[in-house]
Amino acid sequence: MSLTADSMRCGEFRTTYKADTTIFPTPRSRNFAIAGLIVLLFAPHVLDTYYTNLLIQIGYYGIAALGLNILVGFSGQISLGHSAFFGFGAFASAWISNNFGVPVILAIPLAGLMTTAVGMIVGIPAARIKGLYLAIATLAAQFILEDFFNRADWFSGGSAGSVAQPLNLFGFVFATDKSYFYVVLFFMVVMYLAGSNLLRSRDGRAFVAVRDHYLSAEIMGINLTKYRILAFGVSSFYAGIGGALFGHYLGFVSAEGFTILLSIQFLAMIIIGGLGSVMGTLLGTVFIVLLPEVMEALMTTLGSQLPGLERGVSYLKEMAIGLAIVLFLIFEPDGLAHRWKQIKAYWKLYPFSY
């Protein structure tokens, strides 16, 4: 295939269903993804610990955010309790590896499966209710699970929290940021590929059908109850894996971290990135992880001039997240993914934009 014909297309030229359901839309985008991955492989050797830490954060939050996007963006439901699932994954992985002698590398997917079970239980009301009622039901789940973390000493260590062992593979301990980065990268690639793959499968199309018009979907033979609960299951699996990676990275899990604010941040990631876009999820996660850091840097430079600012940094960070959500919803409801598409289209069609 010639480069020019494939790379600079400005319309739909796909002629087979097979070409329409590739994981990457064009060969060029696939090549870019592979190139990006290769660059990332060298990242921890070039960057210092601060930036490696940010990349790791983007990794585990990005995995959980993709789960939420599958639920919200692809199957059209809503969850205000995603951080509770994230936290459940973290506690479950620590619990499994501490109490049953399961190696951490197996505990992480097992924690994902446990979280899936919990997510499906929470999703049961979703079979009957939708939209606003579902939002409130998941909000209730968030508070109930948070309460459970504080209460269940046998599982989460109660208010004291629990210790998560570092990942250990064939005697090599992934205890430093540099080495743990590769673990997160591995899970990230696997989960993102699996996510993209799911969406081009039969089940993924069913999710989208349920989102677009659930009555038509049901008439066409899609089992609504099954797919609604399945979406919750998949979503919590991602949250569980993300949470488990988070737990083993920090080495210590405590209930305070998994509040409604984190749930809102997950929602902010997918809204800013773009609902129903896998790449958008990643962009949104990068945005939300970097926003506080940028604010922090900005405030330390401005703080020397305005003494009141230093004190308010933590509040300003929260306000920035709230403001980002509001502004994106008003001015760019389709998120960064849409903006990215527009930029691409501009360059493709340049200089004949019509």
Binding site: P125, R128, A137, D147, L215, I264, G312, I325, V326
Partner: protein, 297 residues
């Protein structure tokens, strides 16, 4: 069994429940007339209470003047919020609207904590006596005032919707926006007014709770407690909101009693409303008085 304590808790429950009912009512008002679920309802309480506190403490105003000025402020605040932020969202999917109000809620909460600090600030004493003894039960004067004010608000709501022209317009808009608009009702004005009334009523509740417990960020949690109340009563029923608020208030205090006497779990008081919420959503999502939404294929 400690009957005295139980009775005291139930009286407290009724009084708190009426306050929940009032906040739930203002929540339902917004939902009914504009189809927006306001996750920032708790922040209305917070802002109202802090503004009133600042008027009293920083500007040294007498209570009645500060209170009236607070309500005026909240009225303008509600209108501005609707005009600037929520008007562009008309017709957007429900997820976007929910997220917008959540974004507003964390924005206001963080902003308020930044301006006024995280600590509980006591209200300057408003009444000469802190509490009154009624038939051997201690009742906070402020709660008694809130009880009376809440009842007045409820009667006021009833009269407003039943007899005033604007109230009729609001009911018409809640029934069908397009028909209302075609009959010459300014739907935008109705929306703005709904937000303004809701903000004012929430601020009254915020100030009363602030007088009793002191003002702090914890007030915004009332906005979340309102969900069980509003869902229990039925999301589009104003009567339901009051009944739901009462039930949740009494239930909470009853849970505290059971917990304190027998179970000793600790947090049951805070978490029980959410269990109730889940149960209602499973068996009767439209609540006690809400419109049953039947879909036919």
């Amino acid at each position: 069994m400690n009957w005295q304590l139980l009775l005291q808790l139930i009286v407290n429950g009724v009084i708190i429940g009426v306050l929940y009912g009032v906040v739930a009512m203002s929540f339902v008002l917004i939902y009914k007339s504009t189809q927006v679920v306001n996750f920032a309802q708790g922040e209305f309480l917070l802002i109202g209470a802090w503004v009133c506190w600042a008027m009293l403490v920083h500007f040294g105003l007498p209570f009645w003047l500060g209170f009236v000025l607070t309500l005026a402020f909240m009225f303008v605040f509600g209108i501005l919020l609707q005009m600037v932020v929520l008007r562009p969202m008309i017709g957007e999917p429900i997820i976007s609207v929910i997220m917008l109000t959540i974004g507003l809620s964390i924005f206001f909460k963080a902003g308020i904590s930044w301006i006024f600090g995280e600590y509980v600030q006591p209200f300057p004493s408003v009444f000469p006596r802190e509490s009154i003894n009624i038939w051997g039960l201690n009742v906070q004067t402020a709660y008694l005032m809130s009880f009376v004010i809440s009842l007045l608000i409820m009667v006021g709501f009833y009269a407003f919707f039943k007899y005033s022209r604007m109230g009729l317009a609001m009911r018409a808009t809640a029934f069908d926006q397009q028909v209302a608009a075609s009959l010459g009702i300014s739907v935008h004005r109705v929306f703005a007014l709904a937000w303004a009334i809701s903000a004012v009523v929430s601020a009254v509740a915020g100030v009363t709770i602030g007088i009793v417990n002191g003002v702090s960020s914890a007030l915004s949690f009332i906005g979340i407690k309102v969900f069980p109340a509003a869902i229990l009563g039925g999301l589009d029923s104003i009567v339901g909101a009051i009944v739901g608020g009462l039930i949740i208030g009494v239930l909470e205090n009853a849970a505290q009693f059971v917990d304190g006497e027998w179970l000793h779990w600790g947090n049951l008081y805070n978490i029980l409303p959410f269990y109730v919420l889940v149960v209602i959503l499973m068996i009767r999502p439209y609540g006690l008085f809400g419109t049953e939404d039947i879909e036919r294929i």
